[in-house]
Each structure stands twice: as C-alpha cells, then as structure tokens.
C-alpha cells in the first residue's frame, strides 16, 4: 500500500514567521501535487512537481521534490493570515491512482 506521511499535522505560527511542511513516502511516484483547502471548500491545486530535485516557486511558497521522487516539502516565507488552511500533498502512481497525505492544518495568527 502506498502511503504519504505528512508532518507536522498541525502548525500554529505568528504572522511573518517561516514554516516548512514535509511529505514523505517509501514509494516512488511519477508526480506529486500540493493542494490547499479552506473550510467548506474542496482542495485547490497549488503545484505539481514531476522531476526529482525539482524546485518550484509560487510567490512566497517554495516546493521541492526529492531527488528520488519519494518526498517533497513546502516552505512558506513570511506567512500571512491568508495562508491559513489545510495543506495536502498528493501523489499519483503509474497506474493513475491519486492518493493524499493526512494533511497539515496551518493557522497563522495576526
């Protein structure tokens, strides 16, 4: 069974702080996605990484895919209250199955 382990599960920080969320697995994936979900809404795709070692930036968010394509990280610089939400990593196997990690609940306090 392919599993994605996210850490931490919950993070509460002050506005302006930096943070990193991790997504790890023992399996190799063809691609990995990060989603953000707000209460009462479905997850919204932030980024897809496909190449080992790949780094993508989206404003204050930096996403990295591990060299072996088994793990990924999401780093947020100078967090803002608007970044509050549930961050989910998801991965697709080569059979097309899309599975999710347990999620990281981020709370940014003003």
């Amino acid at each position: 069974t392919q599993l994605l382990e996210q850490s931490p599960q919950f993070l509460s920080i002050q506005e302006g702080e930096n943070l990193t969320v991790y997504c790890n697995s023992s399996s190799v994936f063809s691609s990995l996605q990060w989603y953000r979900q707000e209460p009462g809404e479905g997850p919204v795709l932030l980024v897809t990484v496909v190449t080992g070692g790949e780094v993508k930036k989206l404003k204050r968010l930096t996403f990295q895919f591990g060299d072996a394509r088994k793990d990924s990280s999401l780093h947020i610089t100078a967090a803002q209250p608007g970044d509050t939400g549930l961050y989910l990593c998801a991965a697709s196997s080569n059979t097309g199955k899309l599975i999710f990690g347990q999620g990281t609940t981020l709370q940014v306090k003003p």
């Binding site: 994605l4 691609s31 996605q33 479905g42 989910l88 097309g96 199955k97 899309l98 999710f100």
Partner: protein
C-alpha cells in the same frame, strides 16, 4: 470553464436512511474520483472512474456504498443504509485522462444522526 459541481452541499439524515450525492465533472475530463474526508484529515479515495468504467473501487465499502457513471459524465454515489460513522464530507474530483492534476468540487457535508 465551469468547475466540478456537486449537490447537495449539505445533507442531514437519520441513520439507516438512504442518501445520494451527485457530481458533474469538468467538461472533457474522463477521470472522475469520489473521496471521503473527515475533519482535518486528507481525502480518502472511494472510487475512480475512467469514462464509465470503475477502474479502482477497492476502498469502496460495497455492502452499503454504490456508485455509477452511466454515460461517462455525471456520477452518483449512494449510501444505503447510512450509519453514524458515514458522517463526513464527500468530495468529487475530475481530471483529464493521464494527467495527475485533479479539480475538486465543494463537497457534500453529510451528517448522520
């Protein structure tokens, strides 16, 4: 482009009653997913369709859950009879075949009392 549409948004039912959820995926998206999500947790896959074929239903509790996608477009997910533990958000997502990125609807929040 219209997004994934789900209905109803909310449903409250008594245990042992049936319930059905409906999903209209993004036009042109052959792949459709149904997920169940508990509060603060990641979505758990229930079933995945490629067009009208259920290609992965290994996580669907088949004694009480059923799903269909008759014409390869809209899909319904049914629970009969519902149990208290079925209370959750049921999410539908769609994607183009072969592409990893999935687009989600707003979900249906089910409360079984």
């Amino acid at each position: 482009e219209a997004g994934v549409v789900q209905s109803p948004r909310y449903k409250i039912i008594e245990k042992k009653q049936p319930v059905a959820f409906w999903c209209n995926p993004i036009s042109g998206h052959n792949t459709l997913y149904w997920y169940r999500q508990n509060l603060g947790q990641g979505p758990e896959l229930l079933i995945r369709y490629e067009n009208e074929e259920a290609v992965d239903d290994s996580q669907l509790p088949k004694d009480r859950f059923s799903a269909e996608r008759l014409k390869g477009v809209d899909s319904t997910l049914k629970i009969q009879p519902a149990e208290l533990g079925d209370s959750a958000v049921y999410l539908c997502a769609s994607s183009r075949m072969g592409q990893a990125e999935a687009f989600f609807g707003q979900g249906t929040r089910l409360t079984v009392v």
